[in-house]
Symmetry: D2
Subunit: 343 residues, 4 copies
């Protein structure tokens, strides 16, 4: 299978390249970038020296569709909504990593992203690509989930689908590494301001909130809202998410772990920790794994779910490859079955 990567010079694009280069059934036939086209990929990314012989090309949909079978758009929200159109119109498969095709309700995108949305008929063509919950029939257009959203949705899926939660009690305290903010320069990605620091940002206004609620409602339509906070921690990669919710009935830690293990039995990338064990951020870095630990507090009747992913792995490029595998009918693990890098 032949694929092209648009937006290859961003962190998600580079990570796609890293995964796909070792994919047994996929060949990257072209790489594209709008911003860096004058410099070679190696000059701005010296880690790639001598390893990628492809030239960095302008974005030309026709030429891409000619040589490829599928295109990844690893471009920012607001850019993908334009770039995707010619591909969709030509009935050509797209996996988009931005937020532009995730929100299905009219007005939501405008409210949370502060700009006009893609045409709603195009948005509706896209499947929301939470890989563990893809249903048939499947679209050839996939909106890859947000990094926070992936972690949040996997954290709560079993409890919601089994109707265990007091619905208005969900609070998610999520922390992200700095690569989540991309390569752009800003005060909040400046080393001297970020190192040894921690910051809560986008208080009650992060654009992944409606995305998460939309997915949780699929499982539990009565759910109205969640409390969701996002903080920046001084690591390059990773999301560490702590979710809290009240249970309708008490449960033991053992049953809780069993519930999750049963639920994710056929999901090779979701690893449920032992009773009394909670995942550390580093145990998933460089991989597509989503590791989850669970505890029930008898005093407060609250379950705590601790979930870690690599924001560039399961939170972006890893899951995009997983979605490619599902789309193409490959084993879900193809190109992803490697050990996390540790330490």
């Amino acid at each position: 299978m032949k694929v092209s990567i648009v937006g290859v010079t961003g962190y998600s694009g580079l990570e796609l390249l890293r995964y796909l280069r070792q994919h047994p059934f996929v060949e990257v036939v072209s790489i594209h970038s709008s911003s860096m086209n004058k410099k070679s990929l190696e000059t701005i990314n010296p880690h790639l020296r001598q390893l990628i012989s492809l030239p960095l090309e302008q974005i030309d949909p026709k030429s891409i569709m000619k040589k490829s079978d599928l295109v990844f758009l690893a471009t920012p929200s607001g850019i993908s909504k334009e770039l995707a159109l010619p591909f969709v119109e030509a009935d050509f498969p797209v996996i988009d990593l931005s937020g532009d095709f995730r929100l299905k309700e009219i007005g939501e995108y405008e409210t949370w992203y502060g700009q006009s949305a893609a045409p709603m008929n195009i948005i509706q063509k896209f499947d929301y690509g939470l890989a563990e919950y893809r249903e048939k029939p499947r679209s050839k257009w996939i909106a890859n989930p947000g990094c926070y959203a992936s972690a949040a949705e996997l954290s709560l899926a079993p409890l919601l689908k089994e109707d265990k939660l007091v619905l208005d009690s969900i609070i998610i305290d999520a922390k992200s590494g700095v690569s989540g903010a991309g390569k752009g320069l800003s005060h909040s990605t400046h080393f001297s301001e970020t190192h040894d620091n921690m910051t809560l940002y986008k208080m009650n206004s992060h654009q992944h909130i409606p995305e998460i609620v939309q997915q949780l409602k699929k499982w539990t339509p009565a759910l109205k809202a969640i409390q969701f906070s996002t903080s920046l921690i001084p690591v390059t990669r990773g999301i560490f998410l702590t979710a809290y919710a009240k249970l309708k009935q008490p449960i033991s830690d053992e049953k809780l772990v069993q519930l999750y293990r049963a639920h994710f039995e056929n999901s090779p990338f979701v690893r449920i920790q032992e009773v009394g064990c909670y995942p550390v951020l580093k145990q998933v870095i460089g991989s597509n794994y989503c590791d989850i630990g669970l505890a029930y507090n008898t005093q407060t009747n609250i379950v705590t779910v601790v979930t870690v992913i690599d924001n560039l792995g399961k939170g972006a490029a890893g899951q995009a490859v997983q979605n490619l595998n599902i789309f193409a009918g490959f084993d879900e693990r193809s190109g992803l079955d490697y050990l996390p890098i540790y330490p």
Copy 2:
């Protein structure tokens, strides 16, 4: 005023030394350590070279009481409970930084610290030293609060004292820098395991939980329990605490900020941020400040309180100096009125 520091080679002891050396009304007349007595202070702490002429002495209560007016015990929980006794028996003032004299209810210490408590009649002599809420008459024996506890209690005080909260809805997600674990060697303080990592530890079992509940109950006796989590972030100093709770009545962000500002009007070390601003961890490092930001979410009816302190400042040595100032009748800011170090 003359003071002695016991446990000067630990991080809290060193920070006490740093604050007290510049205190206008206090002289440190002796420093003590059990573990390091054979090496000089400078050898193990080269930052002190040529700056501290005092010898490192064994711990001899009689000699301390002879030359000092007050002793700081910057010793670990489990050690202070023995060391404090001769001082208390001799009616000599003590400010203890450990957890040994904080829990006033029988059995609590044993449950949460996993060892036998100090004699309850001694524990009862100690005031709980949350500096902003010290009441008269004051004891000459002060149990300085825990780092997490200080941040948690100040976060919620105005809302609880004004009876604004749904009591069973309090969830605190607290994060700490690694110096909170002290100088001891362990897997969880190993650089290669901690750097670029984040870990939730002591799930539902941190020893500051009963301390916080005890204090919150003073303000709202009907409160039963709180959900409280502690995670380790890869910074040396600082506590970043996010508290969530449902309100009985909706409130505007403006009123929320006003409520806190009014409440802490006479508390020079508690700084309430503007509406829409949330403190970053680094803005209090090296200082005794406790900075608080506030937001109300109309969708979930939840208030979020973001609180930052330096765990060795307001969370330990800084507050101990503040307690000394209150005890001695000095201006509360004496020896503490310096700018945080930034960046």
Copy 3:
């Protein structure tokens, strides 16, 4: 004594404010910035909240000279050369932290800074302010040394002044924290690019090279050139400098340490480590100390000098305050006699 700070919103300006606020004989009467004048100082520097009541003012030399006795220019190279002129012309004292008045030889500034120099008659009025080597008569205009230059010059002074070195053998491998690059946004100050990374920059072309050579030549006119490299390490503050040079005659480590101790006997901010001990970067952070360790290698006949400073302390604001003290006739340690912050 009344002083003004121009460029107060940069890292060196902020550090000047931190030192001077606690100076016993100095009052900061006004603070100035060109870039941030519309926002208050507190908004962009929340660590200063409630602590600095001065307004952030435009830069107006006349108004500054009216209320102050001396002005600090904590402005970048290229800016100071303009700003300083009205003060010098009015015979008003200036301590400039930029590189604009350090290089005394015609053409040097143009070569190394890539822009036109200040008028040479103005440059000549400025003393080079390496505090430990200030000679009388002293000018009222002081060019505060560069951070690397301060560390390099103090490292080699005793060996050069005692004529111990093979002159063409000096190699300096210097490493700096990221705050040395200031607050400006660039790829090389981006957290995701700098964290967990190390980079050699300005190979053989750092603008502190001519500054160092100029000073070393004062001590040893026969010296021609030095090999000097600068790398970025993932810390916020600090310079860690390793200097190597061949000796004319073998020496023991003991004699080496004695030589340095004798040389710096009256320099309270230069602390020579014991034989066999080498300073760590953190032992000077937040302070004006310059700590030096020494070793002679009998196999290679090379002496290694390990020197650490805080680039914002002895490398900028700390030394500027020290220069103020010397200028004003205060004890050199005034406002600087505090413990480094550790850990």
Copy 4:
């Protein structure tokens, strides 16, 4: 080909496992550890959960030789010298990652490692495994080079083999990430002591000095000694090495780069940067690459070589796999041909 890993729970052992699991021609058939045998590998290394089905076994040479074709000893210096003996005696191939079989001169090991050496007749059987310079006939026993040594030797090889250097002018300033110190607990691997810090350690006494000199002498027997310093930087992985030496004749940067490129033409893991480009540490992390940048200083006649490797990659496990490939006749890149992880 079937292999076993002894010492799999250390950082180098884990990295071997990571590389070998994706090796197309190799199967890891058993893993062994002396220290951790009671806990499962997953408990202490949660990143491996569900990915390694092999049990953690005691070290039994007979059983290993029965099921394997080669054993990796990823054990510390001092341990390997005992463990290797039964394998060597049984004529069974060994790749040893410790320092125990590298030093061929009598007395060297004792001097630099401070303990008794392995029997010299066994040491002599081992090839020094600097992969780029393996000569035939090759031994089945390979002493994998030290991390610093690998970087230092590759840095200087072309210049020494072409006789370009003034021999007594070589100075190497090497910096290492903390994983180089292994998993052991010590003050110098404690997060609060290492983070935001830099330390020079083992001044003139690092055990890789004689190893480097031994190899450089093979190329230039007249070489006597080198000046070699090792510092710890606050990153988990990586060695950043800066080598300085005087040239016999001036050279242009272009010729310098050409010289290196020609020299390493057939070495896929040594990547020479463009003229004017110097490698950053992160560009090799997670890989077996050794990236080198070069500059000649006309003022000092000194060449600077900047070399980066992953200490656990080219500095340990990566090169061990490369040595396996050479031994087994596989393409040198087998199992190693992956992109570094960036950022």
